[in-house]
Amino acid sequence: MNVKVLILLVFLPHNLLAQSFSGLGSTAEGFADPAPNTIFNFPLDHGPHNTYRVEWWYLTANLSGEDQTPYGIQWTLFRTARSPNEKNGWLSNQIWFAHAAITTPNEHFTTERFARGGIGQAGVTAEPFEAWIDEWKLSGKNFDELSLNAAGPNFAYNMSLEAEGPLVFHGDKGYSVKSSEGQASYYYSQPFFKIKGNLSLPEGDINVEGNAWLDREWSSQPLSENQLGWDWFSLSLENGAKLMGFQLRQTDGLNFSSSSWIEPDGSLTSYGNSEFVAEPIKESNVYDKKIPTEWRLKLEDKNLDVTVKALNPNSWMNLSIPYWEGPVYVSGSHTGRGYLEMTGY
């Protein structure tokens, strides 16, 4: 088996990795575990937390070209530790990897990078903020004004971002529960970025602008043993509100869901299991898999009942660990756009 995949298995729900090897992911020997009522310390917490097993800086953006053609980009930097004690140079236990993608209505470009910590090939510093792997970089003098770039063999992007609202904290003030058994992570977001820049595609360069959403999450044990995968939505509605909702699919056919309703001023209402409901409406055949690319989402408390539809159903991230991720449209009780990530299919 590809060594990279093996290393990445730590990110997968336990049942999937049990087929290839057991033990990893269910216990977090020596790693720190998230606890409720933790007070975040910024800018330090924008940087890495090496005593936790996994962590990410996850950015998605819905963009429009000058001709109003919709586009989406993704930029994600992941950190995973093989053990909690850090060593220098090539002996480092930190493994970094990153995904970048551009989605157009007809095409989906993806690429990935891998690096080892300890030698400077990849890392994150809190202030000035810089998150990088190879030549890819998300950086700025603080977390509110950032520039972003990534490139693959046939695409590239260069963007600048400016935050127009505060950071928001999911779950219980940033302590986000991920299963009924209590698995949890630290989770906050900056969903109010304005973003503009340039996409390089095989057909030429395109100027784009739109809005971006940056997620920060870290944990040592993010998933429960009976969880198969997740469906994760981040929606920016036309009334200025935002919705983050995810459901973790379980082997028993049930789901564990969680969501946050974010007002335009950044005030957040958190909802526990089963208040946020997501039902697949339509499946598409993507890379020989049946992938639900149209969903009905409900959040009764906010009278939300919308249909979410993929901009490009073929937004398959055909990487070492494959998954689906791409921009979506929102219609129904509310309208808007957003991003959808689906794993474990």
Binding site: N2, W90, F114, A156
Partner: protein, 792 residues
């Protein structure tokens, strides 16, 4: 019914153990050399593949440090941060094992180390803490490292994470960087990011498997030749067995066995026997391969620097190919016999001599096909380029020679018969002639073996003579030396010029010229070059034009591959195009070479300095120790002329050791063919000899005549083999060598060698004929008498 019929047919072999022996050994010998050679080739190919998968050789561009520079981790990170998708490799030796450190995170996925199956035995992801190695290497590895055995790792090598290998080798530098074939947009230029590093394209690297292709093809050709010889044995024994069993078959047919059933039974019988023979052959082949493999491994390492495993494995690929070729050979040999069965009339009397009495028209037909074959072979070489066409010509030549042998023999024997003065000799020649059909296959086999021997030994000896004189030209300096950095180079130059010692500095660089990977040399023209080098073709005063920078000298390999000859322009670099002043023969080297003068070379590569030196001195021993003591050059970097010559010759000898071993084996197989033919014929000779005995010749006289006949026939074959062998040698030197290695060799003749070979062949036939003759001498007179009593 099939079982009892099969039993009836098989009982024949029980009564004729010699024939079954001849048949089985024919199949076995045919299979043995073929599968032995295949086993060797396969072992080498597996090793090349393992090396390619382990090291990515010939598949990726690499980035190397320029002379005297190194690659640090910081360089690697700078490159990655400038958009260069490169992966670091640390390479070094520890206790004779090549340790290769790689980074599984950035390594392209075609590499073995990026796909290693490490989960089963350990159960966790500690790829970073293990070494991957194959079974034959594992026992030599250091004890305190976790090792996972993976048969796909190249022999003599262990691969692990860069952190582990750096620790084991006590090294913190990177040896080279593998460049991913897919690079991102917007990458910065290498020269700007890391000016001390340089990119080397795949085209500049030599692909081991391509280089060695010709060597393996040579081996295969030998395997095929011996297979053909073995097939002659099979063909003649099958023919005889079918002929002698006509009576049984006729009886079986009369008892109601249908032709269909009969054919099925005969086929089953032949398949069983072929499989038994093939199995014996495969076992023999395994032994032969095991015996030859160490030499082949040494040759490949010496000639091409290719590492192959010295351990032979029983791989189904080669033993299956042995089995299949044995079955195909048997099928070929029995097809005409089967056809005859279908035409066997139930009531016709058996005609045991029919098989032997192949008419002269048959010989004429063979002669015609020989001419046709030769024409086809010739057309083939004209129409098609490449080694395969060369071998096709060679094959056509050999088969044509073999096919025309019986006709030529029959014709000569006819002449001799007419010129015989006494009735006895008249009978002797006539009798020899009528035996031809039965013996012709064995004689053809002998012809093939002797001609191949003459051809190959002429080639090898011509090559050796040329090579020795080439070494004398090239290795004129008394000392050869290699320095490891610029300071040493300057120091050495000063040291030598202060003492007035003639020195031949040599700068070299791998380059791509006229789309060919070559070694470009910068030399200082001196007396040694002028006096010693001989050219294949040159303008007047080529050294002068090289010295003043107005021309270049290239080796023959380069000239042939690019089809650029004396006077043609060579584009050496973007602003440097020079005419060829001379072409130099360059043997034992697979690469093209282009030589220019020192100044031009320095203009092209300002950073370069001479790293190799040839030194002229009357007292090499004293100078050697002075250089070692005063300049601090390591003893391993300096070698005297005598040792270098001995070393080069040793590589040469080893290269052809395998060839000569195979040569001897084919001659052995051919002698065996003669022995078997004579033995199987001996019984059938009695009715023909009885009348001669009755006329007054003693059994002893008859026996001696039989012996003489065998030796005379062999003599004839040997005489015919010499021209055939020489033509073969010509093809080897002027077609095969040119295509396989890129050099043409002058042909020399070695009459004493041929005489010796001829003597061996005669002696082998004499030995082969002794036993059947003795058998004849000891035939009881009653048996000879019975011929007249029994009704045939």
């Amino acid at each position: 019914m099939i079982a009892s019929c099969l039993l009836a047919l098989l009982s024949y072999w029980h009564k004729n153990p010699l024939q079954i022996f001849a048949y089985l050994s024919g199949v076995a010998l045919a299979t043995a050399l073929w599968s032995g050679v295949q086993a060797i080739n396969l072992e080498a190919k597996v090793s090349y593949k393992a090396a390619a998968e382990t090291l990515g050789e010939g598949q990726y561009d690499i980035i190397q440090p320029k002379q005297d520079r190194t690659i640090s981790t910081a360089d690697y990170v700078s490159l990655r941060k400038s958009g260069w998708l490169v992966s670091p490799v640390v390479d070094g030796y520890l206790h004779n094992i090549r340790l290769v450190g790689m980074d599984p995170l950035t390594l392209p996925s075609s590499f073995l180390f990026a796909n290693a199956n490490i989960t089963n035995s350990i159960g966790e992801t500690n790829i970073f803490e293990i070494l991957l190695t194959n079974e034959s290497t594992v026992k030599n590895l250091i004890k305190n490292v976790k090792v996972i055995v993976d048969q796909n790792v190249a022999p003599g090598m262990a691969v692990g994470d860069i952190s582990l290998v750096q620790r084991l080798l006590k090294k913190d530098k990177i040896t080279y960087l593998i460049v991913d074939p897919e690079q991102p947009l917007g990458q910065k230029e290498l020269e700007i990011v890391t000016p001390h590093l340089t990119l080397k394209n795949i085209q500049q690297m030599t692909d081991i498997s391509k280089l060695t292709d010709s060597f393996h093809l040579n081996l295969s050709a030998f395997g095929l030749l011996s297979f053909a010889v073995g097939l002659f044995i099979v063909h003649s024994t099958i023919g005889l067995a079918f002929e002698q069993r006509r009576a049984i078959m006729r009886s079986m047919r009369s008892m109601g066995v249908s032709i269909r059933t009969l054919i099925i039974i005969v086929t089953i019988e032949m398949i069983i026997l072929a499989i038994i023979g093939a199995i014996i052959g495969i076992v023999l082949g395994y032994l032969i391969a095991g015996f030859l493999l160490p030499d082949v491994a040494a040759t490949l390492k010496g000639l091409y620097g290719a590492n192959i495993s010295g351990n032979l494995q029983l791989r189904p690929d080669w033993w299956l190919s042995g089995l299949i070729i044995a079955l195909l050979g048997t099928a070929l040999a029995m097809s005409s016999q089967i056809w005859q069965i279908t035409k066997l009339p139930i009531l016709a009397s058996a005609k045991p001599r029919a098989w032997m009495l192949v008419s002269t028209s048959h010989f004429t037909l063979q002669m015609k096909s020989a001419i046709l074959l030769l024409t086809l072979g010739g057309i083939c070489t004209i129409l098609f380029e490449g080694l395969i066409a060369g071998f096709a010509l060679l094959g056509a030549l050999l088969i044509a020679a073999a096919a025309s042998l019986p006709a030529l023999l029959a014709w000569s024997l006819g002449k001799l018969q007419k010129s015989a003065r006494t009735p006895l000799w008249g009978w002797f020649w006539a009798d020899t002639r009528q035996q031809l059909p039965g013996l012709s296959l064995a004689l053809m086999a002998l012809l093939l073996a002797v001609s191949a021997n003459i051809g190959v030994s002429t080639m090898v000896s011509s090559f050796r003579l040329t090579f020795i004189s080439f070494l004398d030209q090239r290795l004129a300096p008394e000392l050869f030396l290699q320095v490891s950095n610029r300071d040493q180079s300057i120091e050495l130059n000063t040291f030598l010029s202060e003492r007035g010692i003639e020195v031949l500095p040599l700068m070299s660089k791998e380059a791509v010229i006229s789309k060919q990977p070559v070694e470009l040399f910068g030399i200082k023209v001196g007396n040694t070059y002028r006096e010693n080098w001989r050219f294949l073709d040159a303008i007047e005063n080529p050294w002068d034009t090289l010295q003043d920078g107005s021309a270049t000298i290239v080796n023959e390999q380069f000239a042939r591959r690019t089809n650029l000859w004396v006077g043609d322009q060579v584009n050496i670099a973007s602003k440097l195009t020079l005419p060829i002043a001379a072409i130099v023969g360059d043997y034992g080297n697979p690469k093209g070479q282009v030589i220019i003068n020192e100044e031009l070379f320095r203009n092209l590569y300002p950073q370069s300095y001479p790293a190799r030196f040839g030194i002229r001195t009357n007292n090499p021993v004293k100078l050697q120790s002075e250089i070692i003591n005063q300049i601090g050059i390591d003893n391993n970097s300096i070698i005297d002329q005598k040792s270098l010559k001995a070393f080069s010759l040793e590589i040469f000898e080893r290269t052809f050791l395998v060839t000569s071993a195979l040569n001897i084996l084919t001659l052995g197989v051919a002698s065996f063919a003669i022995l078997m033919s004579l033995l199987t014929l001996a019984d059938r000779r009695i009715p023909q000899l009885s009348p001669v005995w009755a006329l007054g010749l003693t059994r002893s006289q008859i026996g001696k005549l039989e012996l003489l006949r065998a030796v005379l026939l062999a003599l004839f074959v040997v005489v015919f083999s010499i021209p055939t062998g020489l033509v073969l040698a010509w093809v080897l030197l002027n077609v095969i060598n040119v295509k396989a290695f890129g050099w043409q060799l002058p042909m020399f003749f070695f009459p004493l060698e041929y005489l010796k070979l001829g003597f061996y062949a005669l002696f082998a036939s004499f030995l082969a004929a002794t036993w059947p003759s003795l058998k004849l001498i000891r035939t009881p007179p009653s048996d000879l008498l019975k011929v007249f009593a029994s009704e045939r």
